[in-house]
Symmetry: C2
Subunit: 391 residues, 2 copies
């Protein structure tokens, strides 16, 4: 399923020997058209991996015919050889598709994504050979789509895919990401495919709007990746042209679904925390306050320990750049209002933090805007996974 769910897309994967976990670790997704519109959003980290720099240039014309992704190495801080390998990967994908498939495709039609350890070179021979084998496996079957999603996994414990259908057209998607989940984007690789007939401008605007209100609001550990990329590829193969608003709505649904799958599989987490900020003077204020709370290690450790320590929530709120009066605010944890107007309300003991789903409701009493930020708790397992795993 995943990226092969809409018409017009095939995927091929291979165990190229890149990822220490074994199994498939390189995948190529091809858009068979008839349209080749594409859009992508990238990490806002200034430290950008080579594949990000390549893809940013390659997407400039809003067209992409293929994307090649690998796990097992981020190809970041690997010097000129690293960039050369990214470039060669795109060229070799284009050449192989031209020769084997008779495609009219050049290197600049091929996007590249990498994920894994930063600062270690990828084995060039294995990547180039892997691309050939992956292309020989290209297939539009559900199994090919699933394999493609498997190939991009790093510390992910489950495959992340979404399939949605509306009146004759579809969106399919795959994602990877379990650590370094923070905005700009949520440190992930995502490929979304659709067979709807939408033009490049609509696709681009819809992707920006959908990611801003979904993966950009996921802040698992405050760390921003060097390799984030969310790509939307449009085949138009269904022949159906939905209203832009309908397309935008379904794309947002897909992105929210992916963000929540990423949150549920965040490294070492034992609670999935939704920080819902209401009564804000602006949506940006609501996001700023939610993010400040989501970044507080003390708050996150308290939730892990089952301690409804609302003082740490208010203390974190006080660090946010937003228009509100801390002493006017209310805070509820899992439905129990523990603080009203900056003072104790219901007793902490009334809060049940045993469910994995955790809901923090903050009312800023400063206006009519709202936003939710998704995060996780800070656990022993988070520390363990990130002290033991070089990624």
């Amino acid at each position: 399923m995943s990226v092969t769910y809409p018409k017009g897309f095939r995927a091929g994967s291979v165990a190229a020997g890149l990822a220490a976990r074994g199994g498939v670790d390189l995948t190529v997704v091809v858009n068979d058209g008839p349209t080749f519109d594409a859009a992508a959003v990238f990490t806002s980290n200034r430290a950008k991996a080579h594949p990000i720099r390549w893809s940013m240039a390659a997407i400039d014309d809003r067209q992409a015919k293929a994307i090649v992704l690998n796990s097992g190495g981020a190809n970041c801080f690997t010097g000129p050889e690293g960039f050369a390998l990214t470039h060669r990967s795109a060229e070799h994908t284009a050449e192989t598709l031209s020769v084997v498939e008779g495609f009219d495709v050049s290197a600049s039609d091929v996007l590249v994504c990498s994920t894994g350890l930063i600062g270690e070179p990828l084995p060039a021979g294995a990547v180039i050979q892997g691309i050939e084998v992956a292309i020989s496996h290209l297939d539009d079957s559900p199994e090919a789509g699933k394999q493609s999603a498997q190939a991009i996994m790093t510390t992910d414990t489950v495959v992340k895919t979404v399939e949605k259908e509306r009146d004759g057209w579809r969106i399919g998607a795959m994602a990877k990401g379990a650590g370094m989940l923070a905005p700009g984007l949520a440190t992930m690789l995502v490929v979304i495919t659709t067979d709807a007939k939408v033009d490049g401008d609509t696709a681009d605007a819809a992707l920006r709007a959908a990611t801003a209100a979904s993966v950009d609001r996921l802040d698992s550990d405050g760390c921003m990746s060097t390799n984030d990329q969310v790509t939307l590829m449009v085949s138009g193969a269904s022949g159906v042209a939905p209203e832009s608003s309908t397309f935008e709505d379904l794309l947002l649904e897909v992105c929210v679904d992916l963000a929540q799958q990423l949150q549920r599989d965040a490294e070492g987490a034992s609670h999935d925390i939704t920080i819902e900020v209401i009564g804000a003077a602006s949506e940006a204020d609501a996001v700023a306050v939610g993010r400040a709370v989501a970044r507080s290690n003390l708050f996150k450790a308290a939730i892990f320990g089952g301690d409804p320590n609302w003082g740490r929530i208010l203390a974190a709120m006080g660090t946010a750049e937003a228009d509100f009066v801390v002493d006017a605010t209310d805070v509820s944890i899992n439905g129990v209002r523990v603080a009203s107007a900056g003072m104790p309300d219901q007793p902490r003991s009334a809060v049940d933090l045993s469910p994995r789903e955790t809901h923090i409701l903050i009312d800023l009493k400063a206006g009519g805007h709202s936003a939710s930020i998704w995060t996780n708790d800070l656990t022993h397992d988070y520390v363990h996974e990130n002290s033991a795993y070089s990624s």
Copy 2:
């Protein structure tokens, strides 16, 4: 020693039953003059505890004759009764000093500091009675100074004091702080006393400069307190008037010493990490880059795990607002240059991370400015202490 080390200061402490750990938990420090100049810097968190709000107003005239501090409760988000208790504490300290000691002192000459759990009211009776007992214990002995430092401890495992002498005048200091160590300030209570003859303007400027280059560069866990206050009280009792630059230098030494004591006792830490940023276009840039690295949970967990994961350092640097090219920078860990010009240099295996002292050297290659940020690693014990301890 600590605050009673310079001439003109007495301290008295009491076990008022505020702190669950038992022992002394409330202390009064009195300046016997002949001068009563004072300066203070406060948390920049918008969520300010009642004692902070009181002290900010009381220090407005740059004069203070006494300071009362308690552990066992932050008196933050405790409503109007909380502020009333802070106000009453200052009034009662002034009244008792007037009656018992014949002091000419009003409530606005008394600063107040509290530390402990946020959102729980302090027992007013115990605080007010404690103030009377503490004042009855006022003494200029080294032991009285040490007890005063003990009274403000929360999760601190050691007493933090500094004593420095120059040509006939002294500076003494005490500090508490083990969690919520982050800038603006480093989530701590500090009282610094001196018998040097320095005027209010000099004291104020020297304190701001010294804290900006010391405790403000300590960022243990990225969390900003609601109750931070660093107070300097000047008795002038030595009769010696040092050059302002000499006074500033010694005050900075004291503040750096305190900051390093706080770092070494940070909750659950197993490494004391100095992030030294050189070659910056400005000192502010160096601070911004150092802070971005100090805030990366992934970097801090890697150091805990003995993993010299320099990719996480460069990834964190890329999120800083500063003028440099990530690909031009060098990174050394404990003397081994692991990255040069954004590429791998010496092997990771050459780095020894077994010592507690950890030195990260980042050369931005963008100018002649530098700064160091002090932080700690992210450990199982940090998570444990902050999930189990409501503070």
